[in-house]
């Protein structure tokens, strides 16, 4: 695929580093390039909506979006980040790698204003990972939970719940001791995880799933 500097990126990101104009390809990859940014000409900049959908689907299973938003990187660095994450299991379609990297490179470039780091109270930070009482989700049956798990969840989260191509690992996680939050994910869905109807996973079934997953260590 021919690669050349695009006018768009030259505008957004290349001002400070000096545009060297069209050239055939990137020099051997330094960790951070001092040359003009080079992206694939086949990658028109994604719209915010399209990029956001891609990020939600492909990038937020293992960390929140702030991991992306705090970076200030060159196009080359972004391209290698997206590829690194794909190698680590981000389900990015091959044809989306370049457009996503170009979008991130424009949005979170070396010229973008510094991130305003939000704050959180120590009590809220501790509460976010602390175990909570099971409430309506107490007293599940691990055997029934195993059956439900293999029927509804294992295709994505793996038989041993250790995570797979799509789903993340669910074993030995704080979320298993925050039953209401767990139920919320199951019933609302998130990213590529579908929402399950309450009729299909009533409170007692959530309790069973929790009992199974807690015993899976």
């Amino acid at each position: 695929m021919p690669r050349r500097t695009t006018a768009l990126l030259a505008l957004t990101a290349a001002i400070a580093v000096g545009c060297k104009g069209d050239h055939a390809g990137p020099p051997p990859a330094p960790a951070s390039s001092a040359s003009a940014p080079v992206i694939s000409s086949a990658a028109p900049l994604l719209s915010d909506t399209a990029a956001h959908a891609m990020i939600v689907d492909d990038c937020l299973s293992c960390h929140t979006e702030q991991m992306l938003a705090q970076q200030r990187l060159t196009p080359r660095q972004w391209a290698s980040e997206v590829k690194k994450m794909q190698g680590w299991g981000a389900p990015v379609e091959p044809e989306n790698i370049d457009p996503l990297a170009a979008y991130l490179a424009a949005k979170y470039s070396t010229e973008t204003a510094p991130e305003r780091v939000p704050t959180i109270s120590p009590a809220d930070a501790a509460a976010a990972i602390a175990p909570l009482p099971d409430g309506a989700f107490a007293g599940g049956d691990a055997g029934r939970g195993a059956t439900a798990y293999h029927e509804l969840c294992a295709t994505c989260h793996a038989d041993d719940a250790g995570g797979a191509a799509v789903g993340v690992h669910l074993v030995d996680r704080p979320l298993l001791h925050r039953a209401a939050d767990f139920a919320r994910v199951v019933r609302s869905g998130r990213g590529r995880m579908p929402a399950f109807r309450v009729e299909d996973v009533p409170d007692a079934q959530i309790a069973n799933l929790l009992a199974h997953l807690r015993s899976s260590r």
């Binding site: 990859a29 330094p30 702030q66 705090q70 120590p122 030995d172």
Partner: protein, 374 residues
């Protein structure tokens, strides 16, 4: 089963209720990442000998495992007698408390030019606490280290989110493991470790960067070689020879990072703040993983002249002292201070930190500007 439940509930009250005293009520952590949590200590809190646990920075790669105070540690590999231990078995060993700085290797990454990817810590990924536990040496001696052993591989209970993500595996050389300062800790600042800080057990490696201080510790594997995998062979390494900023560094030209280099940080006044005319107070912390701090110097004229600050707290490698420089200033206007630390018989903190591709161990001079008003 019952036992674990009770422990989990006990842990819940520990996790939510510890130490949030009234003095801390309006101090907040810097949220660099909400999930998994990467939380920084606010700069203005970095002028205390002990960082209160609720304000102590939190670093997680994958997020914590479930709180389980009954988790055991397995000792295996090149040992005469592999075994599992928990806190009850520690009763036979001497309990030790050390005061030490914990600093994330990536602290200051946001200050590297050119910028590098990773959590964009500024100053907040460091703190000092008292750590109580048993010596790793005593545990290894009980297991009986066999000839040929040279490294101890460390693993915690925090699993990667998918099997395709590398596990967080690290190792330390046997000599460091046998150092009397290296602990398996279960208390921090006198209280049981919180989940965010590694409950029930974490390793304490005074003087060395945080990537060795494994949280939720479950495995000690004595072996001939260093750990393998991304988090030892690719991450947490420094160029062996200095490199020019932005340079690509091949893996064979790198070595694992270990000791914290000499560093000082100004906590007050805050950059951009306003102070009344009269008494001006510059405070912060200084430390080195290598040696004790010999002196801390403050310059008010951009480095032309330097005055020694007073130091508080006990000197020692791997622990910080609070520095303080007080002076009168009756002239309103913009003020500027820069600080540098010098270690005993050793290095002076460099004006500019050495750039490296991972953005590790930033330790350049810290400068602040403020306004004195009538």
């Amino acid at each position: 089963m019952m036992r674990r439940r009770q422990l989990i509930e006990l842990g819940a009250s520990i996790a939510t209720s510890t130490l949030v005293g009234p003095a801390l009520a309006d101090e907040a952590l810097l949220q660099h990442l909400g999930a998994p949590q990467d939380l920084g200590t606010p700069l203005e809190a970095l002028n205390r000998l002990i960082t209160p646990t609720p304000l102590f920075f939190v670093r997680s790669h994958f997020g914590p495992p479930a709180l389980d105070l009954a988790r055991k540690i397995r000792i295996s590999g090149l040992v005469r007698q592999p075994f599992e231990i928990d806190e009850t078995a520690f009763g036979h060993l001497q309990q030790v408390t050390v005061t030490a700085v914990l600093q994330c290797a990536g602290n200051g990454r946001a200050l590297q030019t050119p910028r590098v990817p990773g959590v964009q810590w500024v100053h907040g990924a460091m703190g000092q606490a008292t750590w109580t536990g048993v010596r790793l040496k005593d545990v290894l001696e009980r297991a009986g280290v066999l000839p040929g052993a040279a490294h101890v591989r460390l693993a915690g209970a925090d699993l990667p989110p998918k099997p395709t993500v590398p596990a967080f595996l690290r190792s330390i050389p046997l000599a460091r493991a046998l150092d009397p300062g290296t602990l398996i800790a279960y208390r921090m600042n006198g209280e049981p470790l919180t989940l965010a800080h590694g409950a029930p057990f974490r390793l304490i490696v005074p003087g060395w960067a945080g990537d060795h201080w494994i949280k939720w510790l479950t495995d000690l594997h004595v072996q001939k070689d260093e750990a393998e995998g991304f988090y030892f062979q690719t991450a947490y390494r420094l160029p062996i020879e200095p490199v020019s900023p932005g340079a690509a560094v091949p893996p064979e030209a790198t070595r694992p990072l270990t000791t914290l280099p000499v560093k000082s940080i100004i906590a007050q006044p805050l950059d951009g703040s306003r102070q009344r005319v009269g008494k001006q107070e510059i405070t912060g912390v200084a430390f080195s993983g290598e040696k004790a701090i010999a002196r801390v110097e403050v310059s008010l004229d951009g480095g032309a002249s330097w005055r020694a600050a007073t130091l508080e707290g006990e000197p020692g490698a791997g622990r910080w002292q609070v520095f303080r420089h007080v002076f009168e200033d009756r002239t309103p206007g913009p003020k500027h201070a820069v600080v540098r630390a010098i270690e005993a018989g050793g290095a002076t903190q460099p004006e500019k930190a050495a750039w490296n591709p991972g953005g590790y161990l930033w330790n350049g001079w810290h400068a602040v500007s403020w306004e004195v008003v009538a």
